[in-house]
């Protein structure tokens, strides 16, 4: 057999009916993650056609997007916190009851952002195909899964048939040489990669991240990398699984147990690109000289080293973005006043992210006039952080410690950045108005976000890290 890439191996393994020039492949899905915002209309379709869910056992449901981050243990509490999404949340509970799905809801200690809990439970595994009605499903590719976001119509297809109609995408190799330095994180690396290939450079491709700098990353860092593949236009990003992956998964409740796990590892070890396999496109980047990165514009490709001047460009889109951000070309962002700092989202809300931010902020104070929100990615992350005392470090510094959820990343649960204010955010999108009407977003790592909270301006985290 000709040498195959990691992507091709996973693709080939899931083709139920091969594609032809006239018809796409019927493609099997191993894990379907659903949440309250993009699934209701798919359940309505099932009801209209009187269809059951084909594989409830391969479907994992939670609530994360529109849920409050103030304490809610029952749906009744939603009235107390003034949630606008109560009807949607009630509908999700009803849908799961009616169709026989287990819901990781308000009463579950396993609730959290869908892309945090999949890996945390061990449901995300190498070689699986994973979909969700959310573009950051690419996160799960960190385990060598083929994982991508779908729309609501396709959610209905998967619920009813466990399959999708798919055309085989192209492959893009992103080879990262060298090693990222101590004060630099996976977030800085992926922002630099998006800056290099552009917000549409990955459109039509599945990215495979490879090379020594990627192999050196822990699983949470790899998730941060794959998470933002969609910000380069790629529906999926993948990293070949290795011992770091297997060690992460061993013992997790939804992973295979005992001998089954060892047999799975044997199979998972074959999931890497063969020597001599070919990609449709390849780029190389060196991580050695990488700096902490920040975005200065209104898409994640408009990115610069935190101490470097914002570039100039005559393009009208570029100028409009700088106007919206109230940022000046030729000057670094480091003296720009900050109003809000958000640490959270499926990009950066896991233990390593919170530990890093806490390490920067410990014994220091959030600057006057800055609101800082720390939103753990899941209730499991929240509890672990509390066991380690991170909640107290944040609270003593003057930050707000919240329940898990998507929160201020997309601002649909009421956690928003006020109009005109500038937020340094560990999330994934700095689109106009994404975090609130008129909100201005600077994307950065948890270290840079925490340093900015202390300084009251966009800040280089390196002086704060020992």
């Amino acid at each position: 057999m000709a040498p195959r890439t990691l992507f091709e191996k996973v693709w080939d393994d899931h083709v139920v009916v091969a594609e032809t020039p006239d018809t796409p492949a019927v493609f099997y899905i191993d894990l379907h993650l659903i949440h309250e915002v993009t699934s209701p209309q798919a359940f309505s379709m099932l009801r209209e056609r009187n269809l059951p869910i084909r594989r409830p056992d391969l479907t994992l449901a939670t609530m994360d997007h529109s849920t409050p981050t103030t304490p809610v243990r029952t749906v009744g509490d939603l009235d107390v916190v003034g949630s606008k999404a109560k009807a949607q949340i009630l509908q999700m509970e009803q849908n799961c009851r009616d169709f026989g799905l287990e819901l990781l809801g308000f009463d579950s200690d396993s609730r959290g952002i869908v892309h945090v809990i999949g890996p945390e439970l061990g449901a995300t595994q190498p070689g699986k195909t994973i979909v969700c009605g959310d573009s950051h499903t690419s996160t799960h590719g960190a385990f060598g899964a083929l994982a991508f976001g779908i729309g609501t119509t396709e959610i209905g297809h998967v619920l009813a048939t466990q399959c999708l109609l798919q055309r085989k995408p192209k492959t893009l190799s992103v080879y990262v040489d060298g090693r990222i330095g101590d004060a630099v994180t996976a977030k800085d690396l992926i922002l630099a990669i998006i800056g290099k290939i552009g917000v549409n450079g990955g459109t039509g491709y599945v990215i495979e991240y490879r090379g020594p700098a990627i192999e050196a990353l822990d699983m949470e860092a790899r998730m941060t990398i794959c998470n933002m593949s969609i910000e380069a236009g790629a529906r999926a990003g993948m990293i070949a699984p290795d011992d770091i992956t297997f060690d992460y998964l061993r013992g997790r409740s939804h992973a295979p147990q005992g001998d089954d796990f060892e047999r799975a590892v044997e199979r998972w070890r074959t999931l890497k690109s063969d020597p001599g396999s070919e990609y449709d496109r390849e780029i190389t980047i060196n991580a050695d000289e990488l700096k902490p990165m920040v975005t200065f514009g209104t898409n994640p490709g408009m990115v610069v080293g935190v101490d470097e001047p914002v570039p100039a460009d005559g393009d009208s889109n570029f100028r409009n973005a700088l106007d919206y951000m109230q940022v000046e070309a030729g000057k670094p962002l480091t003296e720009t006043p900050v109003n809000v700092v958000f640490i959270g989202s499926c990009t950066n809300s896991r233990m390593t992210d919170l530990r890093l931010a806490a390490n920067v902020i410990k014994g220091r104070k959030v600057a006057d006039g800055v609101t800082m929100l720390v939103v753990p990615g899941s209730q499991q992350v929240k509890q672990q952080a509390e066991r380690e005392g991170l909640d107290r470090i944040f609270a003593e510094a003057g930050a707000q410690w919240r329940e898990s959820g998507c929160s201020m990343c997309l601002g649909m649960n009421g956690d928003t950045v006020p109009s005109g204010q500038l937020a340094v955010s560990t999330s994934n999108r700095n689109f106009e108005g994404r975090q609130g009407i008129g909100a201005r977003t600077v994307l950065a790592s948890p270290a840079t976000a925490a340093a900015s909270a202390i300084s009251g301006t966009v800040a280089d985290p390196r002086p704060y890290l020992d």
Binding site: V16, Q41, K84, I150, L165, M412, F431
Partner: protein, 192 residues
Amino acid sequence: MRHVIQSKTVVMPGKDIDTDQIIPARYLTTTTKEGLGDGLFRDLRFNADGSLVSDFPLNQPASDGCEILVAGNNFGCGSSREHAPWALLDYGIRAVISTQIADIFRNNSLKNGLLPIVIDADTHTHLIDNPGITVTIDIEASTLSLPDGRTVSYPIDAFARYCLVEGIDQLGFIQNNLDTITRFEEQRPWTP
């Protein structure tokens, strides 16, 4: 779906118009597909005080009834929300023309009968520079005809076109393969 769309164009020349622009997340607490046109380009169409943004293309009287939106490169990037094509359709848009359209938005559009059309840079520049011209889209032929007499073809997946023209239900197409899917599940060497 109609096989021909003939309409004046409305032009939004900006690049990288993301799905958060198309419909902000605060409109996503709905559990139906209806009425999302209200949220379409909400924060571009309206000022903070609720008044119309006077120079926004969709607020011009000339754009009334336009069914074809011409937009800058990389339209529909970002979130997978199908609410984006639902909002465009609810507002009355039937086709979006750009030089590049993001993958998930394109897929979602085709599932709902919103036509995502990618054309060459020359034709695109002409459309951007001449807002309001009448364009004819022949879905079966996959062509775009302009008032200056030129007709250009655009690429579209054969199956997607077939489904649009014949009104084929893609779920039904998958369901026709349910026996094969069951066999696949029974015979695969490992199970998820």
